[in-house]
C-alpha cells in the first residue's frame, strides 16, 4: 500500500492509483537480477490505440505504445 506521506503528492500530480502502482511495479521489476530482469520487462509491453468520440464521430486515434513504431 501507498505510504501515508506520498499519497497527496501523486494525487496532486494528477496520477491515479493505477499509474502510481505501475511505477512502483516497474521499479521492482528493475531491481531483478539479469536474466529475469529483461524477461520481466519484455513481458510487460504496452500497445493499443485510443480514439475519443465527439458527436458520433471518432477523432484521430492516439497510439499508446512503449515500443517504437515499425
Amino acid at each position: 500500500m501507498a505510504s501515508n506521506a506520498a499519497v497527496p503528492f501523486w494525487r496532486a500530480a494528477g496520477m491515479t492509483y493505477i499509474t502510481y502502482s505501475n511505477i512502483c511495479a516497474n521499479l521492482v521489476r528493475n531491481c531483478l537480477k539479469e536474466p529475469h530482469k529483461s524477461e520481466a520487462l519484455v513481458r510487460e509491453k504496452v500497445h493499443f490505440s485510443v480514439a475519443k468520440w465527439v458527436d458520433g464521430k471518432p477523432q484521430k486515434p492516439i497510439i499508446r505504445s512503449d515500443t517504437p513504431e515499425d
Binding site: 500500500m1 501507498a2 501515508n4 499519497v7 491515479t16 492509483y17 493505477i18 499509474t19 502502482s21 505501475n22 511495479a25 516497474n26 513481458r43 510487460e44 509491453k45 504496452v46 500497445h47 493499443f48 490505440s49 485510443v50 480514439a51 475519443k52 468520440w53 458527436d55 458520433g56 464521430k57 471518432p58 486515434p61 497510439i63 499508446r64 515500443t67
Partner: protein, 324 residues
Amino acid sequence: MAMAALRREGRRFATPLIRPNPTNALRSSLSPSEEQATLGVRYISTQIVRNRMKSVKNIQKITKAMKMVAASKLRAIQTKAENSRGLWQPFTALLGDTPSVDIKKNVVVTISSDKGLCGGINSTSVKISRGLHKLNSGPEKLSKYVVLGEKAKAQLVRDSKKDIEISITELQKNPLNYTQVSVLADDILKNVEYDALRVVFNKFQSVVSFVPTVATLLSPEVVEREAESGGKLGELDSYEIEGGETKSEVLQNLTEFQFSCVMFNAVMENACSEQGARMSAMDSSSRNAGDMLDRLTLTYNRTRQASITTELIEIISGASALTG
C-alpha cells in the same frame, strides 16, 4: 482410314441424339455457365467442378490451420485467464457486485475482439451492452459506451454512435499483460465521468461455452453513499482503516485498483473465449468443407462415368452397325 472417317461420321450423327439429356441433367446442378460451353465440344466439361473442388480443398486447409493456431493460442491464454480470476475475487468480496444499483451516469464497457471468424461472441457482448444501455437510460440518466475491439465498434456504430465515448483497438498486438490493461484502465478512468462502470465480456467456461458476464464497478462516492445507507455494502464500515488516510482516499485507491483488475480479468477471459469460439467455428467450417468436397467428388465422378459410358455405347453400337 475409312474406318476412322466412318467413326467420326458416326459421332457427328450420334451427338444431337445423345447429348441434350445427360448434359442438362448433370451440368445444371453444377454451374450456370452452361451456355458458355463451346459449341461442338463433345464431352461435358468437368473443368468447373475440378476447379471448385480445388478451391474447397484449399479453404478446408486454411480453416484447419486456423483451428490449429487458435487451439495453441487458447492453451497459452487459458491458464493466464484462469489465474487472473484470483485478482477480482477479493474485490468482489469487499466491495460487492451490485448490478441493480440506481445511479445517474452509467458507462458500459463493451469488450470484444479485433478479429472476426470467432462465432457469436462479439454479437452477444454487443447485445448485452445494448440491453444494459437501454435499461440504464432514462430522462435524468446518462449512459455511454466505451468500446474495446474493432468488432463491437463496427456493430455499435450502426445505431448508437452518439453514445460512444471512447473506442480502443489493437489491444492484442503484444501478448496481453497487466501493465497494458492497467494503462488502458487508467485512460478510461481519466477520460470518462461515471457513477458506475459496467464491464461486459464473455467469461470463459470451457472450449464450447462462454457466458456473457457483467461486472459492475461503482465510483468511490457511490460506494461511500451505498455503505452509509446500509444495504449490500453496509459491511464496509466494519473494516478498520490503518494509517492516517481517510476512508474516501482509501476507497478511491481501492476502486481504481479494482477497475484495473476487473478489466484485466475481463480482457483475458474475452481473449480466451475468442480463441475457443474461433476453434469451434473453424472446426465446423472445415467439417462443412469436407462435406462439400465429398458431394463435389461424387458429382465429378458420376459425370466422368457417364461420359465414359456414353462413349462405350457409341463405340459398341457403331461396331455392331458395321458388322450387322
